[in-house]
Protein backbone atom coordinates (compact mmCIF):
# COMPACT_ATOMS: atom_id res chain seq x y z
CA UNK A 1 0.00 0.00 0.00
CA UNK A 2 1.49 3.40 -0.97
CA UNK A 3 2.05 5.96 1.79
CA UNK A 4 0.81 9.53 1.52
CA UNK A 5 4.14 10.90 2.69
CA UNK A 6 6.05 9.00 0.00
CA UNK A 7 3.69 10.25 -2.69
CA UNK A 8 4.15 13.82 -1.48
CA UNK A 9 7.91 13.32 -1.58
CA UNK A 10 7.52 12.37 -5.22
CA UNK A 11 8.28 8.64 -4.96
CA UNK A 12 7.49 7.18 -8.37
CA UNK A 13 6.74 3.73 -7.05
CA UNK A 14 4.29 5.12 -4.47
CA UNK A 15 2.64 7.47 -6.97
CA UNK A 16 2.31 4.72 -9.56
CA UNK A 17 0.70 2.38 -7.06
CA UNK A 18 -1.68 5.08 -5.96
CA UNK A 19 -2.79 5.61 -9.56
CA UNK A 20 -3.28 1.87 -9.89
CA UNK A 21 -5.55 1.81 -6.83
CA UNK A 22 -7.57 4.61 -8.40
CA UNK A 23 -7.93 2.75 -11.68
CA UNK A 24 -9.04 -0.40 -9.93
CA UNK A 25 -11.58 1.62 -7.98
CA UNK A 26 -10.15 0.51 -4.66
CA UNK A 27 -12.06 2.05 -1.74
CA UNK A 28 -8.77 3.04 -0.07
CA UNK A 29 -7.96 5.29 -3.03
CA UNK A 30 -10.82 7.65 -2.30
CA UNK A 31 -9.71 8.32 1.27
CA UNK A 32 -6.13 8.83 0.15
CA UNK A 33 -7.16 11.20 -2.63
CA UNK A 34 -8.95 13.34 -0.11
CA UNK A 35 -5.67 13.73 1.73
CA UNK A 36 -3.66 14.43 -1.42
CA UNK A 37 -6.11 16.93 -2.87
CA UNK A 38 -5.01 19.91 -0.72
CA UNK A 39 -1.44 19.41 -1.99
CA UNK A 40 -2.49 19.58 -5.64
CA UNK A 41 -3.32 22.65 -7.70
CA UNK A 42 0.14 23.90 -8.59
CA UNK A 43 0.76 22.14 -11.88
CA UNK A 44 0.19 23.54 -15.34
CA UNK A 45 -1.98 20.98 -17.11
CA UNK A 46 -1.79 20.66 -20.88
CA UNK A 47 -4.22 18.61 -22.95
CA UNK A 48 -2.99 17.27 -26.29
CA UNK A 49 -5.72 15.92 -28.50
CA UNK A 50 -6.29 15.11 -32.16
CA UNK A 51 -7.15 12.32 -34.56
CA UNK A 52 -5.36 8.96 -34.41
CA UNK A 53 -1.85 8.97 -35.83
CA UNK A 54 -1.32 12.73 -36.22
CA UNK A 55 1.77 12.49 -34.02
CA UNK A 56 0.51 13.37 -30.53
CA UNK A 57 2.82 10.97 -28.69
CA UNK A 58 5.88 11.93 -30.74
CA UNK A 59 5.09 15.59 -30.13
CA UNK A 60 4.73 15.03 -26.39
CA UNK A 61 8.09 13.27 -26.41
CA UNK A 62 9.58 16.37 -28.01
CA UNK A 63 7.77 18.67 -25.57
CA UNK A 64 9.17 16.70 -22.63
CA UNK A 65 12.65 17.26 -24.00
CA UNK A 66 11.95 20.97 -24.31
CA UNK A 67 10.45 21.41 -20.84
CA UNK A 68 13.36 19.45 -19.38
CA UNK A 69 15.82 21.96 -20.80
CA UNK A 70 14.01 24.44 -18.56
CA UNK A 71 14.48 21.95 -15.70
CA UNK A 72 10.74 21.55 -15.18
CA UNK A 73 9.44 18.24 -13.80
CA UNK A 74 7.10 16.69 -16.37
CA UNK A 75 4.44 14.00 -16.10
CA UNK A 76 2.38 12.49 -18.90
CA UNK A 77 -0.88 10.56 -18.88
CA UNK A 78 -1.44 8.89 -22.23
CA UNK A 79 -4.91 7.51 -22.79
CA UNK A 80 -5.57 4.78 -25.34
CA UNK A 81 -8.90 3.14 -26.09
CA UNK A 82 -10.05 -0.04 -24.41
CA UNK A 83 -11.25 -2.71 -26.84
CA UNK A 84 -15.03 -2.86 -26.57
CA UNK A 85 -14.89 -6.55 -27.40
CA UNK A 86 -12.44 -7.92 -24.88
CA UNK A 87 -12.06 -5.11 -22.36
CA UNK A 88 -8.32 -5.31 -22.96
CA UNK A 89 -6.06 -2.68 -24.48
CA UNK A 90 -2.72 -2.18 -26.17
CA UNK A 91 -1.11 0.88 -24.67
CA UNK A 92 1.38 2.02 -27.27
CA UNK A 93 1.86 5.76 -26.74
CA UNK A 94 4.79 5.18 -24.46
CA UNK A 95 6.66 3.51 -27.30
CA UNK A 96 7.27 6.99 -28.72
CA UNK A 97 8.45 8.49 -25.45
CA UNK A 98 11.46 6.34 -24.72
CA UNK A 99 14.13 8.99 -24.64
CA UNK A 100 13.43 9.99 -21.07
CA UNK A 101 13.83 6.62 -19.42
CA UNK A 102 16.92 7.62 -17.48
CA UNK A 103 15.43 10.92 -16.36
CA UNK A 104 14.05 10.76 -12.82
CA UNK A 105 12.11 14.00 -13.29
CA UNK A 106 9.88 12.52 -15.96
CA UNK A 107 6.92 10.26 -15.21
CA UNK A 108 4.87 8.62 -17.94
CA UNK A 109 1.71 6.63 -17.29
CA UNK A 110 -0.41 4.89 -19.92
CA UNK A 111 -4.08 4.55 -19.22
CA UNK A 112 -6.83 2.59 -20.92
CA UNK A 113 -10.08 4.46 -21.37
CA UNK A 114 -11.96 1.52 -19.84
CA UNK A 115 -15.14 2.16 -21.69
CA UNK A 116 -15.57 5.86 -20.98
CA UNK A 117 -17.04 7.81 -23.86
CA UNK A 118 -14.61 10.35 -25.23
CA UNK A 119 -11.68 8.41 -23.92
CA UNK A 120 -11.25 10.11 -20.57
CA UNK A 121 -12.40 8.76 -17.30
CA UNK A 122 -12.60 10.05 -13.77
CA UNK A 123 -9.45 8.06 -13.12
CA UNK A 124 -7.64 10.48 -15.43
CA UNK A 125 -8.68 13.42 -13.29
CA UNK A 126 -7.79 11.57 -10.09
CA UNK A 127 -4.39 10.62 -11.50
CA UNK A 128 -3.74 14.26 -12.35
CA UNK A 129 -4.38 15.10 -8.69
CA UNK A 130 -1.79 12.50 -7.65
CA UNK A 131 0.86 13.72 -10.12
CA UNK A 132 0.19 17.32 -9.13
CA UNK A 133 0.62 16.44 -5.44
CA UNK A 134 3.85 14.60 -6.33
CA UNK A 135 5.25 17.92 -7.49
CA UNK A 136 5.18 17.66 -11.28
CA UNK A 137 5.14 21.19 -12.67
CA UNK A 138 3.85 20.27 -16.08
CA UNK A 139 1.28 17.52 -16.62
CA UNK A 140 0.47 16.57 -20.21
CA UNK A 141 -2.59 14.48 -21.04
CA UNK A 142 -2.77 12.72 -24.41
CA UNK A 143 -6.16 11.67 -25.62
CA UNK A 144 -7.80 10.72 -28.87
CA UNK A 145 -10.06 13.60 -29.68
CA UNK A 146 -13.57 12.35 -29.62
CA UNK A 147 -15.01 15.42 -27.98
CA UNK A 148 -18.26 15.95 -26.16
CA UNK A 149 -17.69 13.52 -23.34
CA UNK A 150 -18.74 14.25 -19.81
CA UNK A 151 -15.09 14.45 -18.93
CA UNK A 152 -13.91 16.29 -21.93
CA UNK A 153 -10.38 17.53 -21.92
CA UNK A 154 -11.48 21.13 -21.34
CA UNK A 155 -12.52 20.32 -17.79
CA UNK A 156 -9.13 18.74 -17.06
CA UNK A 157 -6.54 21.02 -18.60
CA UNK A 158 -5.53 24.68 -18.43
CA UNK A 159 -4.42 24.76 -22.01
CA UNK A 160 -5.49 22.61 -24.93
CA UNK A 161 -3.38 21.84 -27.95
CA UNK A 162 -5.18 20.36 -30.92
CA UNK A 163 -2.92 18.48 -33.31
CA UNK A 164 -3.62 18.14 -37.03
CA UNK A 165 -1.59 17.30 -40.11
CA UNK A 166 -1.21 19.06 -43.46
CA UNK A 167 -3.72 18.46 -46.21
CA UNK A 168 -7.24 19.72 -46.51
CA UNK A 169 -8.69 16.39 -45.46
CA UNK A 170 -9.08 14.65 -42.18
CA UNK A 171 -7.33 16.79 -39.64
CA UNK A 172 -9.29 19.94 -39.95
CA UNK A 173 -12.48 18.13 -40.76
CA UNK A 174 -12.22 16.33 -37.44
CA UNK A 175 -11.72 19.58 -35.61
CA UNK A 176 -14.93 20.93 -37.01
CA UNK A 177 -16.74 18.10 -35.33
CA UNK A 178 -16.82 20.00 -32.10
CA UNK A 179 -13.50 20.57 -30.41
CA UNK A 180 -12.61 23.68 -32.36
CA UNK A 181 -14.13 25.86 -29.69
CA UNK A 182 -11.93 24.45 -26.95
CA UNK A 183 -8.55 24.73 -28.66
CA UNK A 184 -6.06 27.25 -27.29
CA UNK A 185 -3.21 26.25 -29.56
CA UNK A 186 -3.51 24.55 -32.93
CA UNK A 187 -0.57 22.50 -34.08
CA UNK A 188 0.03 21.47 -37.67
CA UNK A 189 2.40 18.56 -37.11
CA UNK A 190 4.23 16.65 -39.84
CA UNK A 191 4.81 19.98 -41.51
CA UNK A 192 7.57 18.26 -43.47
CA UNK A 193 4.68 17.11 -45.66
CA UNK A 194 3.24 19.32 -48.41
CA UNK A 195 0.57 21.93 -47.78
CA UNK A 196 1.42 22.71 -44.17
CA UNK A 197 1.13 26.43 -44.82
CA UNK A 198 -2.26 26.02 -46.42
CA UNK A 199 -3.47 24.14 -43.33
CA UNK A 200 -2.19 26.87 -41.05
CA UNK A 201 -3.94 29.45 -43.13
CA UNK A 202 -7.20 27.54 -42.97
CA UNK A 203 -6.92 27.25 -39.22
CA UNK A 204 -6.19 30.94 -38.90
CA UNK A 205 -9.37 31.68 -40.80
CA UNK A 206 -11.38 29.39 -38.59
CA UNK A 207 -10.03 31.05 -35.49
CA UNK A 208 -11.01 34.42 -36.87
CA UNK A 209 -14.54 33.14 -37.28
CA UNK A 210 -14.79 31.91 -33.71
CA UNK A 211 -16.83 34.03 -31.43
CA UNK A 212 -14.43 36.06 -29.29
CA UNK A 213 -13.49 34.07 -26.24
CA UNK A 214 -14.47 35.39 -22.85
CA UNK A 215 -10.84 35.14 -21.76
CA UNK A 216 -9.42 37.18 -24.62
CA UNK A 217 -6.69 34.66 -25.31
CA UNK A 218 -6.27 34.52 -29.04
CA UNK A 219 -5.73 30.98 -30.22
CA UNK A 220 -2.41 30.40 -31.95
CA UNK A 221 -1.43 28.23 -34.89
CA UNK A 222 2.01 26.60 -35.05
CA UNK A 223 3.85 24.26 -37.37
CA UNK A 224 5.95 21.40 -36.01
CA UNK A 225 7.95 18.40 -37.10
CA UNK A 226 7.79 16.36 -33.94
CA UNK A 227 10.44 13.84 -34.92
CA UNK A 228 13.25 16.35 -35.19
CA UNK A 229 12.13 18.93 -32.63
CA UNK A 230 11.37 21.57 -35.33
CA UNK A 231 8.99 24.19 -33.95
CA UNK A 232 8.76 22.45 -30.60
CA UNK A 233 10.68 25.09 -28.67
CA UNK A 234 8.23 27.69 -30.00
CA UNK A 235 5.32 25.43 -29.08
CA UNK A 236 6.55 24.99 -25.51
CA UNK A 237 7.03 28.74 -25.25
CA UNK A 238 3.49 29.40 -26.44
CA UNK A 239 2.10 26.95 -23.88
CA UNK A 240 4.06 28.67 -21.14
CA UNK A 241 2.98 32.09 -22.33
CA UNK A 242 -0.63 30.92 -22.24
CA UNK A 243 -0.06 29.91 -18.63
CA UNK A 244 1.44 33.34 -17.88
CA UNK A 245 -1.46 35.01 -19.61
CA UNK A 246 -3.89 33.06 -17.43
CA UNK A 247 -2.00 33.97 -14.28
CA UNK A 248 -1.81 37.66 -15.12
CA UNK A 249 -5.51 37.87 -15.91
CA UNK A 250 -6.72 35.92 -12.88
CA UNK A 251 -7.94 33.19 -15.18
CA UNK A 252 -6.24 30.45 -13.20
CA UNK A 253 -8.67 30.90 -10.32
CA UNK A 254 -11.58 30.99 -12.69
CA UNK A 255 -10.40 27.81 -14.40
CA UNK A 256 -9.84 26.13 -11.06
CA UNK A 257 -13.44 26.81 -10.08
CA UNK A 258 -14.63 25.44 -13.39
CA UNK A 259 -12.50 22.31 -12.97
CA UNK A 260 -13.67 21.76 -9.42
CA UNK A 261 -17.27 22.11 -10.44
CA UNK A 262 -16.99 19.48 -13.14
CA UNK A 263 -15.00 17.20 -10.81
CA UNK A 264 -17.72 17.59 -8.20
CA UNK A 265 -20.44 16.81 -10.71
CA UNK A 266 -18.78 13.66 -11.90
CA UNK A 267 -18.10 12.51 -8.35
CA UNK A 268 -21.68 13.20 -7.43
CA UNK A 269 -22.88 11.05 -10.28
CA UNK A 270 -20.50 8.18 -9.56
CA UNK A 271 -21.01 8.09 -5.82
CA UNK A 272 -24.77 8.43 -6.03
CA UNK A 273 -25.05 5.75 -8.62
CA UNK A 274 -22.86 3.36 -6.68
CA UNK A 275 -24.73 3.84 -3.42
CA UNK A 276 -28.18 3.85 -4.89
CA UNK A 277 -27.64 0.79 -7.04
CA UNK A 278 -26.24 -1.16 -4.14
CA UNK A 279 -29.21 -0.17 -1.99
CA UNK A 280 -31.69 -1.06 -4.70
CA UNK A 281 -30.17 -4.39 -5.52
CA UNK A 282 -30.35 -5.45 -1.90
CA UNK A 283 -33.94 -4.32 -1.44
CA UNK A 284 -36.81 -6.76 -1.12
CA UNK A 285 -38.65 -4.98 -3.91
CA UNK A 286 -35.81 -5.60 -6.28
CA UNK A 287 -35.49 -9.26 -5.39
CA UNK A 288 -39.22 -9.72 -5.80
CA UNK A 289 -39.12 -7.99 -9.16
CA UNK A 290 -36.31 -10.26 -10.34
CA UNK A 291 -38.31 -13.33 -9.40
CA UNK A 292 -41.39 -12.02 -11.14
CA UNK A 293 -39.42 -11.36 -14.29
CA UNK A 294 -37.97 -14.84 -14.41
CA UNK A 295 -41.42 -16.28 -13.73
CA UNK A 296 -42.69 -14.29 -16.70
CA UNK A 297 -45.26 -12.44 -14.60
CA UNK A 298 -43.94 -9.00 -15.44
CA UNK A 299 -41.84 -7.44 -18.19
CA UNK A 300 -38.43 -5.87 -17.38
CA UNK A 301 -39.58 -2.37 -18.31
CA UNK A 302 -42.52 -2.29 -15.97
CA UNK A 303 -40.53 -4.01 -13.24
CA UNK A 304 -37.68 -1.46 -13.35
CA UNK A 305 -40.14 1.41 -13.33
CA UNK A 306 -42.02 -0.07 -10.39
CA UNK A 307 -38.90 -0.58 -8.27
CA UNK A 308 -37.45 2.86 -8.99
CA UNK A 309 -40.72 4.65 -8.31
CA UNK A 310 -41.13 2.79 -5.06
CA UNK A 311 -37.61 3.36 -3.75
CA UNK A 312 -36.80 6.79 -5.09
CA UNK A 313 -39.31 8.94 -3.31
CA UNK A 314 -37.63 12.25 -2.69
CA UNK A 315 -38.52 15.15 -0.54
CA UNK A 316 -36.47 18.28 -0.69
CA UNK A 317 -34.38 19.17 2.35
CA UNK A 318 -35.00 22.87 1.91
Amino acid sequence: MPEIKDILLGSQIAGARMIRLIEDNDPVAFEMLKRLYPHAGNAFIIGITGSPGVGKSTLIDALITQFRTLDMKVAVIAVDPTSPFSGGAILGDRLRMQRHAADKKVFIRSMASRGQKGGLSRATKDAVVVLDAMGYEIIIIETVGAGQAEFDIASLAHSIGIVTIPGTGDGIQAIKAGILETGDIFIVNKSDKPDADASCHQLDMMIDMRKPSETNWTARVLKTIAQNQTGVKELADVFLSHFDFMKKNNLIDLKKKEMEKSYFNSLLKDLTLEKLLLFMKESEDCKKAEKKISAGVIDPLSAAELVVNKICVFESND
Partner: protein, 132 residues
Amino acid sequence: METKNKIRVLIAKPGLDGHDKGAKIVALALRDAGMEVIYSGLHQTLDQIMQTATQEAVDVIGLSIMSGAHLPISEKLIAMMKEQGLFDVNLTVGGVIPFQDIPKLKEMGVAQVFPGGTSFEDIVTGMNKLFE
Protein backbone atom coordinates in the same frame (compact mmCIF):
# COMPACT_ATOMS: atom_id res chain seq x y z
CA MET B 1 -16.63 1.00 -12.32
CA GLU B 2 -17.12 -2.68 -13.00
CA THR B 3 -13.57 -2.94 -14.30
CA LYS B 4 -11.85 -4.08 -11.16
CA ASN B 5 -8.43 -5.64 -11.07
CA LYS B 6 -7.52 -5.81 -14.70
CA ILE B 7 -4.21 -7.51 -15.28
CA ARG B 8 -1.59 -5.06 -16.56
CA VAL B 9 1.32 -6.55 -18.48
CA LEU B 10 4.51 -5.00 -19.79
CA ILE B 11 5.89 -6.74 -22.86
CA ALA B 12 9.50 -5.85 -23.46
CA LYS B 13 12.34 -6.98 -25.66
CA PRO B 14 15.64 -6.54 -23.88
CA GLY B 15 18.93 -6.01 -25.66
CA LEU B 16 19.76 -6.03 -29.34
CA ASP B 17 17.59 -8.97 -30.32
CA GLY B 18 15.36 -7.81 -33.17
CA HIS B 19 12.85 -10.67 -33.34
CA ASP B 20 9.63 -8.89 -32.44
CA LYS B 21 7.01 -11.04 -34.16
CA GLY B 22 6.38 -13.21 -31.10
CA ALA B 23 6.20 -10.24 -28.71
CA LYS B 24 3.72 -8.44 -30.95
CA ILE B 25 1.32 -11.31 -31.43
CA VAL B 26 1.45 -12.22 -27.76
CA ALA B 27 0.57 -8.58 -26.97
CA LEU B 28 -2.52 -8.89 -29.16
CA ALA B 29 -3.48 -12.24 -27.67
CA LEU B 30 -3.28 -10.84 -24.14
CA ARG B 31 -5.35 -7.82 -25.12
CA ASP B 32 -7.96 -10.14 -26.59
CA ALA B 33 -7.98 -11.97 -23.27
CA GLY B 34 -8.96 -8.69 -21.57
CA MET B 35 -5.58 -7.56 -20.28
CA GLU B 36 -4.02 -4.11 -20.54
CA VAL B 37 -0.75 -4.48 -22.39
CA ILE B 38 2.02 -1.92 -22.44
CA TYR B 39 4.15 -2.67 -25.48
CA SER B 40 7.47 -0.93 -25.13
CA GLY B 41 9.14 -2.11 -28.30
CA LEU B 42 12.60 -3.32 -29.24
CA HIS B 43 16.01 -2.73 -27.73
CA GLN B 44 15.07 -2.03 -24.15
CA THR B 45 17.75 -1.70 -21.51
CA LEU B 46 17.02 -3.30 -18.16
CA ASP B 47 16.87 0.19 -16.63
CA GLN B 48 14.18 1.15 -19.13
CA ILE B 49 12.24 -2.00 -18.37
CA MET B 50 12.43 -1.31 -14.65
CA GLN B 51 11.30 2.26 -15.04
CA THR B 52 8.37 1.36 -17.26
CA ALA B 53 7.28 -1.42 -14.91
CA THR B 54 7.44 0.98 -11.98
CA GLN B 55 5.64 3.91 -13.54
CA GLU B 56 2.98 1.75 -15.16
CA ALA B 57 2.40 -0.28 -11.98
CA VAL B 58 2.19 -3.51 -13.94
CA ASP B 59 1.38 -6.90 -12.46
CA VAL B 60 3.54 -8.80 -14.92
CA ILE B 61 6.74 -8.13 -16.82
CA GLY B 62 6.89 -10.35 -19.91
CA LEU B 63 10.29 -10.58 -21.55
CA SER B 64 10.57 -11.92 -25.07
CA ILE B 65 14.07 -13.24 -25.63
CA MET B 66 15.27 -14.99 -28.80
CA SER B 67 18.95 -14.23 -28.44
CA GLY B 68 19.86 -17.08 -26.10
CA ALA B 69 20.71 -14.66 -23.28
CA HIS B 70 17.61 -15.46 -21.21
CA LEU B 71 19.53 -16.77 -18.19
CA PRO B 72 21.79 -13.76 -17.46
CA ILE B 73 19.07 -11.24 -18.43
CA SER B 74 16.48 -12.80 -16.13
CA GLU B 75 18.91 -13.11 -13.26
CA LYS B 76 19.94 -9.47 -13.52
CA LEU B 77 16.38 -8.20 -13.82
CA ILE B 78 15.20 -10.20 -10.83
CA ALA B 79 17.99 -8.70 -8.76
CA MET B 80 16.96 -5.21 -9.87
CA MET B 81 13.32 -5.89 -9.10
CA LYS B 82 14.23 -6.92 -5.57
CA GLU B 83 16.54 -4.00 -5.10
CA GLN B 84 14.02 -1.43 -6.32
CA GLY B 85 11.03 -2.80 -4.44
CA LEU B 86 8.98 -4.44 -7.19
CA PHE B 87 8.25 -7.42 -4.94
CA ASP B 88 4.71 -8.03 -6.12
CA VAL B 89 5.51 -8.00 -9.84
CA ASN B 90 5.72 -11.35 -11.66
CA LEU B 91 8.44 -11.94 -14.20
CA THR B 92 7.57 -14.19 -17.15
CA VAL B 93 9.79 -15.12 -20.08
CA GLY B 94 9.00 -16.26 -23.62
CA GLY B 95 11.02 -16.88 -26.78
CA VAL B 96 13.67 -19.38 -27.76
CA ILE B 97 14.13 -21.15 -24.41
CA PRO B 98 15.67 -24.64 -24.37
CA PHE B 99 13.69 -26.97 -22.14
CA GLN B 100 16.60 -27.70 -19.85
CA ASP B 101 16.73 -24.01 -18.94
CA ILE B 102 13.16 -23.80 -17.69
CA PRO B 103 13.91 -25.20 -14.21
CA LYS B 104 16.87 -22.84 -13.91
CA LEU B 105 14.68 -19.85 -14.72
CA LYS B 106 12.01 -20.98 -12.26
CA GLU B 107 14.59 -21.40 -9.56
CA MET B 108 15.78 -17.83 -10.09
CA GLY B 109 12.26 -16.64 -9.48
CA VAL B 110 10.77 -16.43 -12.97
CA ALA B 111 7.06 -17.07 -12.43
CA GLN B 112 6.22 -18.61 -15.80
CA VAL B 113 8.15 -19.62 -18.91
CA PHE B 114 6.52 -19.77 -22.34
CA PRO B 115 8.92 -21.29 -24.86
CA GLY B 116 8.38 -21.15 -28.65
CA GLY B 117 5.36 -23.15 -29.68
CA THR B 118 3.31 -22.45 -26.57
CA SER B 119 -0.32 -21.92 -27.58
CA PHE B 120 -2.07 -18.62 -26.82
CA GLU B 121 -4.51 -20.51 -24.69
CA ASP B 122 -1.72 -21.84 -22.51
CA ILE B 123 -0.14 -18.38 -22.29
CA VAL B 124 -3.40 -16.74 -21.19
CA THR B 125 -4.12 -19.54 -18.71
CA GLY B 126 -0.59 -19.30 -17.37
CA MET B 127 -0.91 -15.55 -16.88
CA ASN B 128 -4.28 -15.80 -15.19
CA LYS B 129 -3.00 -18.53 -12.90
CA LEU B 130 -0.58 -16.07 -11.34
CA PHE B 131 -3.54 -14.23 -9.82
CA GLU B 132 -5.69 -17.04 -8.50
